[in-house]
Structures are given as structure tokens and as C-alpha cells.
Subunit: 257 residues, 2 copies
Amino acid sequence: MISIAHIDKTSAPRVQDARSLHSRDHCSTCSLHSLCLPTGLCESEMNRLDKIIGRRRKVLKDEALYRMDDPFTTLYAVRLGHFKTHQVTPAGDEQITGFHMAGELLGMDAISTDRHHCYAVALEDSEVCEIPFAQLEQLFAEMPTLLRHFHRLMSQEITRDQNTMLLLGNMRAEQRFAAFLVNLSSRYKVRGYSPTSFQLRMSREDIGNYLGLTIESISRLLARFKKQALLKVSNREIELLDLPMLKQLAMQGNTAH
Amino acid sequence: MISIAHIDKTSAPRVQDARSLHSRDHCSTCSLHSLCLPTGLCESEMNRLDKIIGRRRKVLKDEALYRMDDPFTTLYAVRLGHFKTHQVTPAGDEQITGFHMAGELLGMDAISTDRHHCYAVALEDSEVCEIPFAQLEQLFAEMPTLLRHFHRLMSQEITRDQNTMLLLGNMRAEQRFAAFLVNLSSRYKVRGYSPTSFQLRMSREDIGNYLGLTIESISRLLARFKKQALLKVSNREIELLDLPMLKQLAMQGNTAH
DNA sequence: CGATGTCTTGAAGTGGTTCAAGTCACGTGG
DNA sequence: CCACGTGACTTGAACCACTTCAAGACATCG
């Protein structure tokens, strides 16, 4: 485990120098490049993309990567750690719109208005690659593969959000939570982690907020699933014991409406 | 009123000829070009975009413009009429993900997988412009303004969906329905129609499905709003009598969670 | 070793659903 | 033109899934 919890803020310029000199990783050597923006690029194209990626930035747990209404200049690729994005209404209600893990792009919702439409907050000490959008746009003109993949990523974000709408509009509590777990599972799987054994990076409250349920409901659902031997849970450590059954539950029809 | 309800299907090729010869409208003369894809383009750019727009297509009420899992080749701009988009789960549950009116782009969710992710069905006899995506991509390389606006439209779709997530995850029935009405109102307003007096193009059932409520709830909410003199309603004809109050209701905080 | 925040569990309450009858609007055919 | 049928909507009453409220257990950390 590498600790990135304590950063000497007084030495920021020096650290940046160090990064540009040697410690900076490249898209081509990044283990996430098959999920992230560089997907499908050749070596030389990846290097060009590399050049515009300003710097990596560390974001401590509970720190905001950006805030709602901040002016938009750059996209972020999660390199390490986890984030949540959430909106806040004028009345102060919060809605978490997504949880984001390594290889995912943050900030695409800001393109339409040049201002961020939500908050992005680190769920643990995390790290992102900054991708200045204006420079990325320049590359688009010359790298159709990059552009095409960027469109795929935006489109993916749309379908993801629409799936969540389906979850919130149509599913019962049990289905929602099962779908949530199955979703996490498959995302860890494509990243090479165990699809059945992982840590919940977010609080019960975050889960409840995301799923349109209360924290108590989440707690009860966990207890119920545990009793049904669908999973083991200890604090935020989860082991899915019956993934097929959870998938079944997640797909199950809804008698309502 | 122009009736497009009866189309002689046997004469399809002849009709297409006729279109390409004279009856075809152009982006530059279209009243929607400030909302739609050509936004911000100069005359000559608009003409180039015009050239790739294959044809206009009529879609009768309740007909599908495309179906879930159809292969994706073209985007559609709504030219006339209204559409709904909805997903269907394996279990047969439906979730309407949006209602779409003139000037809006349909099909962007299909880019990520090259297959449509939802159904698009006309709520009344309607008309769309077909925009072959492969050709559009070619234009992107040469028309940065077009590309930029396309990104704005995709980003807009993301923020729209996220707003709906907030609605479904956080709001009470009354707020949801008020927000729905206010949303329609403002969309008609930017199109130059009355923001207070319009027809609901969708059934109560569609509204309920979209808002995650039952048809009975919608009916009761309409009755309540009517009693509170917030609106008049007769069948699908709506008149909003107190738009400020409806906005107030839509923004109101939620005690839940 | 308290103090604080996170989570669990139980009991009571309720907003919206479900179920069941209507009513209304509209098209169709006699 | 009316009778009829059908689909869309309304309204009432009973119900229930999830919330709310409340109390306590547990984990983490200065």
C-alpha cells in the first residue's frame, strides 16, 4: 500500500518538476489504457495524447476534485481510487449520480454549459489525470480514433445514466440493491479484481442516496441478503456468495405500475 | 393541419425522388436550426451538413423510429411532432427515459455499442431528419464548430438524464409532477410556443411511467393541482395558471432521507 | 478510553400503490 | 344519428413497502 495521505503542500512546484522529469507515468504504460480514453490508439498517438495531459493530481478522501458551477476546463481520468458525483438542489437535497473507479472519465456533463453540473468527491485518497479539454479538442481534428472513442465514452455515460433511471423508476428496494452490487461486481471484474470480494468504498448513506432509499433500508437489505446466504458482509468488506442469484434478483420483474 | 397519416407505401421510391428534387427543406431554412445540430454554423457549413442528411422520414403515431438492439447507423433530429424513448427489461418492465420534441437529437445513446439502447416511438404523427453518423464523423474533422456543438448536445443529454435521476431519487410525487410540467413549459417556451398553454402529447400512463409513479397518482395530482388553481386541465389540454408556484413546488426540499 | 460518526435493529407511521368501480371521450358500424 | 364497444382516465377504499423515529451497538481515532 502506498500512502498518499500526506502531501507536503509547500513543495508543490518541486513535486511538479519531479513529475515532469521522471516520475510521470504515460498512457502507454498505464494499466488502464484499454478502459480509458486512449483505447484503440497506436503508440505514437498515445504519446501525443500523453503530451497534453498536464499532470496527475492527488485528491484526498472527502476532497472535491471539482465543485458544481466551477468553470469547466479539463476532464479527469480516474487513475487510482474512487469518486462519487452528486448534485445539490437549491433546497439542499443531494442526489448522488454515480460512483466512479479507475479508468473512468469525469466531467463530461460540464461540456454543455462550460460549468460543472455536479460535485466530484474522492471516496478515498485518489489520483486523476488532468486532460485539458481545449487541447483534447485540437487532437480530435487529427486523431479520428481518439474522437471516436471519446464519443463512445460519452454515449456510455448516457446509457449508464439511463440504466440508473430505470433502476430508480421501476425497481423495488431489493432489486435496486442487488443491481447495485452486481454492477460493482462486473466493474471490478473488467479491471482484473475479484468480482465477488471487494470493499464498499462508499458509506451506507451514499448507497442509499444513490439508490433512492434510506440508510436504514440499505442496512436491512444487507442483513436480509446475509441471512439468505447471498453474501457475507463485515463493515464495508463484501463477499458475494451467490452472484447468479443476485443477478436474478436484479433482473426480476416488478409487479408495480 | 397537414395530414401525414396516410402514406402510400407502394410509392416510396417515387416519393424519395420527389424529395431530393424539390420538396426537401434545408437546415438553413429550418426554423429549428438554432436548437438543433447546425447551431453556430455559417451558411456554407450548413450546406455541407445539409448534403449528408439523407432524407426526412415520417413516423406515424405509435410507430417506432428505431427499436432497442437495432444496429445503429444514423442519428435523428426531430423535425416535427413528439417522441418518447423507453427501455424494456428482460422481465418486460418498461421505463420511459425521455420525451423529445422538435429540434432534439435522438440516438446518441447508441454510439457506444453500435446498437440502439432504447426504443423511440412517435407520440403523434411526426417527422425526423436522418443524419448518417459515419458521414457526420467525416464532417467533424473539417468543421470544428459542428463537432463542438455536437459535444454540447451529448453533454446536455447527460445533464438532462442526471436531472431526471435527481427527480426519481429525491423528489416526492407532487414535486416530480410539478417539475415535469415546468420542464415541458420551458421547452415549449424556447421553441416559441406558449409556456402556459399546451397539449400533453403523452398518456397519463406514459407520464406515470416516466416519473416513477402510477397512472392513478398522476390523475390524482392533476385533480389536486386543479383544485389548488395551479392549472386547468381538460383531457390532454393543459393550462398552467400559476407557473411560479409550480416552479416553487418543483424546487421544494424533500424531508425524506 | 471517551467521543464521534457509522451502522444496525425495532416499532410506528404514511405516501403512494393496488384493487375495484365507475365515468368519459371517441371511433365504428348498424 | 344513435348504440355500442373500447381504451383512457378518474375516484374511492384498503393495503403495504419503505420511511420515520428512536435507541442502542459497533468501529475508529484522537
